[in-house]
Amino acid sequence: MSYLGRRVIRAAFLLVGVSILCFLFTEMAPGSFFDEMRLNPQISPETISSLRARYGLDQPLVVRYGRWLRSALHADFGYSIAYNAPVAPLLWSRAKNTLLLATTGMLLTWLISIPLGVWAAARSGRMLDKSVRVASSLLVSIPEVVIAVALLAIVVRWRVLPVGGMTSMDNEGLSQWARLQEIASRMLLPTIILTLGETAIIVRHLRASVLEVLDTPFVQAARGLGIGRTRLLFRHVLPVAASPAISLLGFSLAGLLSGSLLVEVICGWPGLGPLILDATLSRDFYLVIGGIMLSALFMVGGNLVADIMLLACDPRIRTGALDAR
């Protein structure tokens, strides 16, 4: 059975497992969607139970799961109780925004960290390296939530950037270029927050592994043979040093949908984050489960890509010259 085939089967198992556990977890959590109505003295409990029955909330767990599974196989992921609309289009319209933000963040991160990490290691001990180490230490030490809130407060206080939403009110009247500019300006703050945190981590990892590789005999030999510095770094050292970093890339891909949740909520970016958070807290669980399945799908895909890249980069794993016994 080919490697890919095995992974696909594993992915299918995973998705089924996630869905089962999701249903179990939502059952564990107290409260239901209509609880807020209990606080209103003017709504009778009969109305509430009738609503619950209509949406099938009082059916046993197994029945609900069975129905959901059957419809999921027909690509129907249920209805959102709050929006009274099908889950899939609702999720997709927001997922697009999240993907835009997360992909830009990821590209920016890797574009910055690869050269930065390699150069810092190459000039180890000197000015560049020192400042990179200090900056990344500092950024790594500050949790993302603190960075996000601090930057947001600064940006708002000094009116540096527009915050919140993706477009402004006059959006329709603008030209294509102006529209793009506007989306970019609102995307700037969340992207910066995402990039700052990730870059610090990746730069550190990359720098550490490049330093390691720089000491190996084959690099010394290559240098002795007169191969130019840049070519040496990026053509010979990087592919070897990259292998632990590939796992990180896999994480970036896998967490493409879920990693930006915090930033989206704080900056008001209309992505999956605020939607799922709201749905989770209000127990709109078909929407929540739909969102989780989508994230799980991305995670599986991202990990698959990461593993393939790992195999591609490190031939030793591929040749399997290391089977235990």
């Binding site: 009778s44 929006y83 009274n84």
Partner: protein, 590 residues
């Protein structure tokens, strides 16, 4: 008069105010019977943006339950009889007049003639009958259905002629006119099909095209951008005119921006992206007040709101084994002197000062000073006294040990936990203050923050809690909506739910009084009955009342006719009268 309006318009254009291209109002024609808002003046044009906590979930007035949806829908729809939020009295809306039968059971409403929906289709009694049929349909499960059921029997609606409708209540009901507020009249020509096909619940979701939605409110749907905003535009056929016979609303567009938490709303307001914030906490209000000189914002403190925050002890009948620990503590909770001692020891002044930044009022009953019509001013407001509390506890058989801990009559130390919603910072702060207050009595109190629905689950379903800090009220000034809180069989009778018989003589008396006031039509007599109810509640303390916040709202200086009210929706209740001032006018208004 028209020339003046045009001149003002030109002046606005010259002043550089951005004019959104909304539909201009139709000239009033003699066939229409329009409502004249005599005191209102302003000029047309402009766009108002207001921030919302979340996205609306639906545009269907019949099934909408969340506050944000109702706020948006409320601007697009109109009702037969409206409660004017400023005066808290009813006034004619789509019904221009009505007659009540002497026994208070039959209401005959005269509808305005010549009125049209926002798509131009005429409005008449058929739409009213259709709307009420939908509201009362059991298969639709509208939350508003329960309002129309009195004593288990629904009211009946009959069409008398094209512009007259008769409502018959199963029994006399005080202030029955107030029932009509918020019941939007639906367009039969657009919704009948989905109703007949039993697909009504899916009608008017957020994805519906704007042309399929029509209402009688001041605005109609223009655009919905998922996750970001809902834009409403002027309804050119709106049935109200101002003092100059200019058709309202003044605004070209009203935009609801989904901003998120109140803090995010303040940030957007400061950035100039929104023009109004509907309800603020005192912290944010004081923050904006500090900048008032620079920003010239209009900050309004309307005084105490109608909601009441309270501490409730679990006095439910507990049968489950799991709740044994709680059941044992109930002997304390059921002791009146215990509750009285706690009420005496709580520092309400500090709650108002530290939690509401002095913008609030302490409460000793369920009706606070904000409800001028119904508050019983004779209820005592005792000052905080730890000594009095100790005396009460002593007389109830409690004592203190060497370490200062409070012990009950059997020697067990008094210890209990208070749950409250972790998302409400005000009530969390109250819990911390109360914890400290009660430690002076030797009680060990634990503050347990829980997620909002987890709190509701424990208070309404599992009864697995000891004490809770919650809030109720704020919907309407009239006592009738509170029936379910104070009557024994009521569903919000939080301290002792699922009671079949009144557990004590005072609860029985409250039952009788509340039933009585519900059918008494004379305000004076009702007030007397309700005063006695308030007195009983304050004496027997089923809830220990804490405080109420003031209603605080803010708008930027360009918003005219900004008159926030103490009732929900606090700032948009007169959305049809709001207008954008020119810079000269805002300067003059200061």
């Amino acid at each position: 008069m028209k020339a003046i309006a045009r001149l003002t318009l030109l002046v606005c254009l010259l002043a550089g105010v951005c004019m959104a291209a909304g539909p201009s109002p139709e000239k009033p024609n003699p066939g229409e019977e329009l409502e004249r808002a005599g005191q209102v003046s302003g000029h047309h044009g402009g766009n108002l943006t207001i921030g919302g906590r979340a996205e609306p979930k639906t545009l269907n007035p019949v099934i909408a339950t969340d506050a944000v949806s109702r706020e948006v829908i409320g601007r697009m729809m109109a009702d037969l009889i409206d409660i004017n939020r400023a005066s808290q009295q009813t006034e004619p809306a789509l019904a221009k007049s009505w007659k009540t039968s002497p026994d208070g059971r039959v209401f005959t409403l005269q509808l305005r003639k010549g009125i049209r929906f926002s798509d131009g289709h005429p409005f008449d009694a058929d739409d009213v009958v259709f709307s009420f049929a939908v509201y009362m349909d059991e298969n639709v499960d509208s939350p508003q259905r329960d309002l129309l059921i009195i004593d288990g029997k629904p009211l009946t609606v009959t069409k008398v002629d094209q512009y007259t409708v008769r409502f018959t209540l199963p029994r006399p009901y005080a202030a029955a006119e107030r029932l009509f507020d918020g019941l939007a009249m639906l367009p039969k020509h657009l919704l009948e099909k989905s109703y007949r096909e039993r697909k009504f619940v899916q009608a008017w979701s957020l994805n519906t095209a704007a042309s399929e939605i029509a209402g009688l409110g001041p605005f109609r749907l223009k655009q919905y951008v998922p996750g970001q905003r809902v834009v409403l535009e002027r309804n050119p056929y709106y049935w109200k005119v101002d003092s100059n016979n200019e058709r309202l609303p003044y605004l070209d567009e009203l935009t609801f921006l989904f901003v998120g938490s109140e803090d995010a709303q303040v940030m957007r307001f400061e950035a100039g992206e929104t023009s109004m914030i509907s309800r603020l906490s005192s912290d944010n209000y004081n923050l904006l007040a500090r900048e008032r000189d620079r920003t010239r914002a209009q900050l309004v403190d309307m005084g105490p709101s109608l909601e009441y925050n309270f501490l409730v002890f679990n006095q439910n009948d507990l049968s489950s084994k799991k709740l044994d620990a709680v059941a044992q503590k109930q002997q304390w909770f059921r002791e009146l002197k215990f509750r009285q001692a706690i009420s005496a020891a709580i520092d309400r002044d500090s709650i108002v000062r530290l939690v509401y930044g002095t913008r609030g009022a302490p409460l000793w009953g369920n009706v606070g000073p904000g409800n001028k019509q119904w508050v019983n001013t004779a209820i005592p407001h005792p000052q905080r006294s730890v000594d009095a509390a100790r005396r009460l506890l002593k007389s109830a058989g409690f004592s203190w040990n060497q370490a200062g801990q409070l012990l009950d009559s059997s020697g067990k130390p008094v210890e209990f936990s208070i749950i409250t919603s972790s998302s409400n910072t005000q009530r969390m702060k109250m819990a911390t203050l109360i914890q400290d207050d009660l430690s002076h009595l030797g009680m060990q109190v634990h503050v347990v923050p829980l997620e909002f629905r987890a709190v509701i689950d424990r208070v309404f379903q599992s009864f697995d809690y000891e004490a809770a800090i919650m809030a109720l009220g704020g919907g309407d000034a009239d006592p009738n909506p509170e029936m379910n809180v104070w009557t024994t069989s009521g569903t919000s009778h939080l301290w002792h739910l699922h009671e079949t018989e009144p557990a004590s003589p005072w609860e029985r008396e409250i039952d009788q009084l509340m039933q009585q006031q519900m059918i008494t039509l004379d305000y004076g007599k009702r007030k007397q009955l309700y005063d006695r109810v308030q007195q009983l509640i304050a004496e027997h303390l089923p809830f220990i009342f804490l405080a109420t916040p003031n209603v605080l709202a803010v708008a930027n200086p360009r918003v005219g006719n900004f008159h926030p009210a103490v009732l929900d929706p606090y700032t948009l209740w007169n959305a049809d009268e709001l207008y954008i001032r020119t810079p000269m006018e805002s300067a003059a208004a200061r």
